[in-house]
Amino acid sequence: MAKTYDYLFKLLLIGDSGVGKTCLLFRFSEDAFNTTFISTIGIDFKIRTIELDGKKIKLQIWDTAGQERFRTITTAYYRGAMGIMLVYDITNEKSFDNIKNWIRNIEEHASSDVERMILGNKCDMNEKRQVSKEKGEKLAIDYGIKFLETSAKSSINVEEAFFTLARDIMTKLNRKMNDNSSSGAGSQSLRNNTTKLLLRAPLNVDCDTQNTKWILLTKPIDLSGSSFSDMEAMKWRHKCNMATN
């Protein structure tokens, strides 16, 4: 089946309750803003396909499902994430202080090479500001990650934020592939053939030189796919009959 994208990136939103994670998600995926969300209900993830360097990238952006409220985010939420948006509310100092704790959580549960970015949301509400932009920038510098102030309501920097994160993931991915191809056999085929792979981190690629096709060694099984049928079982029965007759 033909795919409508070249890469799939799994991104997460993390931060305290009420900082505007879901609003950012809606602004980016639906270009809409709705103030009536009290907490995140019924939103699992949203999809938007963007284009970077001529490649179609499907961003699958996951929301916390409200489980941040009592600090009960499941470890499963972090699995396979390639990029994480850490969001605080510039009008809420506590949410900013907690960014450090969320970073610690990420270090524990997410892949060690996950791309991260800090967002100070609600920057349209300058009159209620509790966290200066400089403070946000300093924190980001301390951790060596990128920073933007955003407003989901006024649509400020939302596009930029997600595109930046996606681009950083892309850069890391390209670097990884170059590393792999310079050290492994059959190196040339890698860059040409990974494009249609469903990429997940952490991944473990190896080259099947005969088919010049890259295989995910740790290729996980996705039950939602319909990749297997009962054919195998039927073939088995058929062969059995042949062998015994």
Partner: protein
């Protein structure tokens, strides 16, 4: 807890094990308001998985025999005159006889701390930790090293080679600095050296994994308390697919089925391809096996073949078939996986058929294993519950159930913060029920061992095998031991190691039940005094034994004074599959809500339209989901992506 909980729900679920989590998801999915709590700081109860340091903390916690004594009685004020309280347990009592061992390699492990350990007091200051993110409380090792915290180092204990590191007195994970500061010496100063020393040592002997490496890479481990596999046509797989919860997890196929016969580990040919490629089977054996397995696939059609043996055991029946002893062994122990003495012919045929039917759905063996461990599965159902509005509270003990004397129904719970929360239905995991309710309940036990080893039990071309091995009992009538060996690509152990789970129904303590099997399969000696043949076996680097209570299959009526709207979920059973938990969850859900569908598919997020004027389209499968996003405005955006039909994203 800063945030206050609502004081009324439809359903309160206590415990986050698999059956409770499935019920919570099903209830939220059908529109009930759900509060889901667990007294622990992690998800899953006895279904949980831990990092290495997390497991060490768990061991320590369970070795402490002291009960929580600071009984707080104020909650009794919240109980009205016409009500009575059923107290719940505050202390886990389902784990017994824990013994952990560290083997050898102490020279390099001496004085090594868990580099980059995330101590209980976080690096970022203790204040934040108080109310925050205590799911991380089980200290985990980070890959990148951080400043060593002398407050809570996880230190390789200086054990004698192969000596037991038993009891809490040997545990050096204590928070009490004074107790081990002497042992650590100038730990801060030494750390630099040890860190440098270890890579050096591993450069000399690149293959050897030391205990200190395990400690340092502890975050790579996801060690299951309960060892199970998913039958590819089992109830859990069906439920995961049906409910769309499968989108939260990924799986790996078990790659080989092994048998233990005449002191050797052998591969069991079970798929068509295996049988044809098998070098150990003679041509005539291949035909025999094929013929018999083909018969098993539709044995119901040929009653004449087995009718005469319906009152015999399956083992006896196999002896009458044209099968060599090795084939009989494979079928009995590794395919049907049934007891030699207790299993009837029909049960054996059923089990064989189930195995064969599961072949080929996802690969050449009938089993799947969830990446990052079995502990992910309950959490996936919790996520579904949360997506549908369920509220989650970990480290949230419950004092009691409040029962209305007149109606005999449960009205509310009182949590340990003294908040009274009312609900219509209550789901309680068995271990939360206090002894007064369980006096007539007889529990079985499961014997468990977890080993970290340096090689696979069967050396094949590939390092990345996931294997299941059944070791038949030495004494007839005793249970067989199920061994599951996981490689690092299952995301449950660090590179260069294997995680081995041993499970059987208990007859004695876990160590007494399982150590003989461990000694047969593994080298538990140090190199110095090991015999040559021992050296060929995988070396055990670390091991733990424990008994877990098996509360499955208990009749509801054995619990005393249980209100009719309180439902009890059992902990993990000793069976390989998860059917028991799924069945229980569905039964309880149907009893509560007979007219509601059990876990219908959650809508695909891409199908949900948030535009107020429009109505969400009918739920559809995972594929063929029309992109519902309105036309994009940004130039950078791919114009194709916005209107295009997305198809089967995850089929790869």
């Amino acid at each position: 807890m800063a945030d206050n909980l609502p004081s009324e729900f439809d359903v309160v679920v206590i415990g986050t094990g698999l059956p409770e989590s499935i019920i919570a998801a099903a209830c939220a999915r059908s529109g009930q308001s759900v509060l889901h709590v667990d007294s622990k700081n992690y998800y899953g109860g006895n279904w949980a998985s831990f990092s290495f340091s997390g497991l060490l903390s768990w061991i320590k916690e369970n070795q402490q025999k002291t009960d929580v004594s600071d009984e707080w009685d104020d909650w009794r004020k919240l109980i009205l005159e016409n009500e009575e309280a059923i107290s719940l347990n505050k202390k886990e009592k389902t784990i017994q006889h824990i013994e952990d061992f560290c083997f050898g390699d102490q020279d390099s492990a001496e004085g090594v701390e868990e580099a980059g350990a995330l101590p209980k007091l976080p690096v970022f200051g203790a204040a934040g930790a108080e109310g925050f993110a205590q799911e991380s409380e089980e200290a985990r090792a980070a890959v990148e090293s951080t400043v060593p915290e002398s407050t809570e180092p996880e230190k390789a204990t200086g054990t004698e080679p192969a000596s037991a590191r038993e009891g809490s007195d040997a545990e050096i994970t204590s928070e009490d600095t004074s107790s081990h500061s002497a042992a650590l010496g100038e730990s801060a100063g030494e750390l630099g050296q040890t860190e440098a020393a270890v890579p050096e040592a591993s450069a000399q002997e690149p293959k050897k994994i030391t205990y200190s490496q395990i400690v340092r890479e502890g975050r790579r481990f996801n060690i299951d308390l309960v060892s199970k596999l998913l039958f590819s046509r089992g109830l859990l797989i069906d439920l995961l697919i049906k409910s769309n919860v499968s989108r939260y997890a990924e799986f790996k196929n078990v790659t080989q089925i092994l048998a233990f016969r005449e002191g050797k580990v052998e591969q069991v040919p079970c798929s068509r391809a295996d049988v044809f490629n098998s070098r150990q089977l003679a041509m005539v054996e291949k035909r025999m096996l094929m013929k018999f397995l083909t018969f098993c696939l539709d044995y119901e059609q040929h009653p004449e073949e087995y009718q005469d043996y319906e009152n015999s055991t399956f083992a006896e029946f196999l002896r009458t078939q044209k099968l060599t002893p090795s084939l009989q062994h494979f079928i009995l122990h590794s395919i049907a996986m049934v007891s030699e003495t207790d299993c009837s012919t029909l049960e054996g045929l059923q089990a064989t058929k189930k195995f064969l039917q599961c072949l080929g759905r996802y690969g050449n063996t009938p089993f799947l294993f969830p990446l990052y461990g079995q502990g992910e599965i309950p959490q996936c159902f919790c996520r579904l519950c949360a997506v549908f509005g369920g509220i989650y509270c970990l480290r949230h003990p419950v004092q009691c159930l409040v029962v209305d004397k007149e109606s005999g129904r449960c009205k509310a719970i009182v949590d340990h913060f003294g908040q009274r929360i009312s609900a219509k239905y209550f789901i309680v995991e068995d271990s939360y029920l206090s002894e007064s309710v369980c006096t007539n309940v007889h529990y079985r036990q499961i014997s468990r061992a977890v080993l970290i080893t340096d090689q696979s039990v069967l050396n094949t071309g590939s390092e990345q095998q996931v294997s299941i091995l059944t070791v038949p009992p030495v004494d007839l009538g005793k249970p067989a031991v199920c061994v599951i060996e996981l490689c690092s690509s299952t995301m449950t152990c660090m590179k260069g190691t294997y995680l081995v789970h041993l499970t059987c129904p208990s007859t004695k303590t876990a160590r007494e039940d399982l150590e003989p099997v461990v000694q047969k399969l593994f080298n538990v000696n140090t190199e110095k005094d090991a015999e040559n043949e021992e050296l060929e076996k995988p070396r055990v680097l670390w091991a733990v034994y424990f008994n877990m209570r098996d509360s499955s299959g208990i009749d509801r009526n054995s619990y005393d004074r249980l209100p009719s709207n309180v439902y009890v979920c059992s902990g993990p059973d000793s069976a390989l599959g998860n059917d028991c938990a799924v069945k229980q969850a569905e039964t309880i859900f149907q009893e509560m809500f007979p007219t509601e569908e059990f876990c219908p598919p959650a809508p695909n997020p891409e199908d949900i339209i948030y535009d107020e004027d429009e109505i969400a389209p009918e739920e559809s499968g995972f594929s063929n989901s029309p992109e519902t996003k309105p036309e994009a405005s940004t130039e950078e955006m791919s114009s194709g992506g916005s209107a295009a039909v997305e198809k089967a994203d995850n089929e790869e």
